[in-house]
């Protein structure tokens, strides 16, 4: 079975307080040199059948209507080779 990964990130102009909280915690834990952190979501889809153009088009549609809210988020669809 092929795996398709959908990464969803807040758009760059949207404030991400969760990412900021993580970034602020880093120096306290001894991890220096990280200027910025943005937190997102990763969906791993196990696809039945071939991952052809039609299947990718459906996944793209799925991401656009459901997995991401395109008012605030961008997404990237990637096929993961095994």
């Amino acid at each position: 079975m092929a795996r398709v990964v959908v990464d969803v990130m807040l758009k760059p102009e949207i404030l991400d307080p969760q990412g900021q909280a993580v970034q602020r915690a880093l120096p306290r834990l001894g991890f220096d040199g990280i200027a910025d952190v943005r937190q997102g979501k990763r969906f791993e889809l196990e696809v039945e059948g071939p991952v052809d153009d039609a299947a990718l088009a459906r996944i793209h549609e799925m991401a656009e209507t459901f997995l991401a809210n395109t008012v605030i988020e961008d997404f990237v669809v990637k096929v993961e080779e095994k």
Binding site: L10, P17, Q18, F66, N69, V71
Partner: protein
């Protein structure tokens, strides 16, 4: 004839009972609606109540937005049926694109629970006509994802068309852009807000004020005069 106002229960809805009660206190017939039932049972208006439908999984309101009841509701709302979304209900309305923008995690990352002062900016909607324009009210606010966001063009459009229905007063509780607490669609039949008018309809409980009752008396007047 008594107006029939429906209140939808999704798995994880918390404030449906208070919303049904508020409808009754205001003088209409409350009608419980179930998320898996497409039928709106001849209601004249619908309230989407607050809570954590589907545990806020994926995004607040993102899964509820696709439930069977929403199919009919979206169609009817576009045809002019009045719909009020409170808190999670507001999030569902933005996810369904019946209202523009989106809701994000509060900017300080804390859950907020307090009495919140608001200004009614638009008293011409189906749900606000019993208020005076600019009237200040106080109702409970309780949420984690209350930060209203939209792009600058949408915000300017909302302002220009008088569609910012409510604004936070005495401090912005969640980082909402332009202190927006609630908005309306262009027709004024679909209204969403984060604070909870249904928790402020009787003097005995809550704030001891009945500032939220106007939402429900507004819609009843609108339906009776229709």
């Amino acid at each position: 004839m008594t107006s029939r106002i429906g209140v939808v229960t999704f798995p994880g809805t918390l404030d449906d009972q208070d919303a049904l009660r508020a409808v009754r206190v205001a003088g209409a017939e409350p009608v419980p609606l179930w998320h898996r039932d497409k039928d709106l049972h001849q209601v004249d208006a619908v309230v989407l109540a607050g809570g954590f439908s589907y545990g806020d999984y994926l995004r607040a309101g993102a899964i509820s937005r696709f439930s069977p009841v929403m199919e009919t509701l979206i169609e009817q709302a576009r045809a002019g049926m009045p719909v009020l979304g409170i808190c999670n209900g507001f999030q569902i309305l933005t996810e369904a694109h019946l209202l523009p923008g989106a809701m994000l995690r509060n900017n300080h990352l804390h859950f907020v629970c307090r009495d919140q002062k608001l200004r009614v900016e638009n008293a011409r909607t189906a749900w606000t006509s019993d208020y005076a324009p600019g009237q200040e009210i106080s109702v409970p606010l309780k949420n984690m994802d209350g930060r209203y966001t939209a792009d600058e063009r949408t915000l300017d459009e909302l302002e220009a068309e008088g569609r910012v229905a409510f604004r936070y007063l005495d401090g912005n509780p969640n980082g909402s852009l332009r202190d927006i607490a609630g908005i309306t669609n262009a027709a004024g039949n679909v209204v969403g807000l984060m604070p909870h008018p249904e928790h402020a309809v009787e003097p005995l409980i809550g704030t001891g004020r009945t500032d939220g009752l106007g939402f429900f008396t507004s819609i009843i007047k609108k339906l009776v005069n229709a």
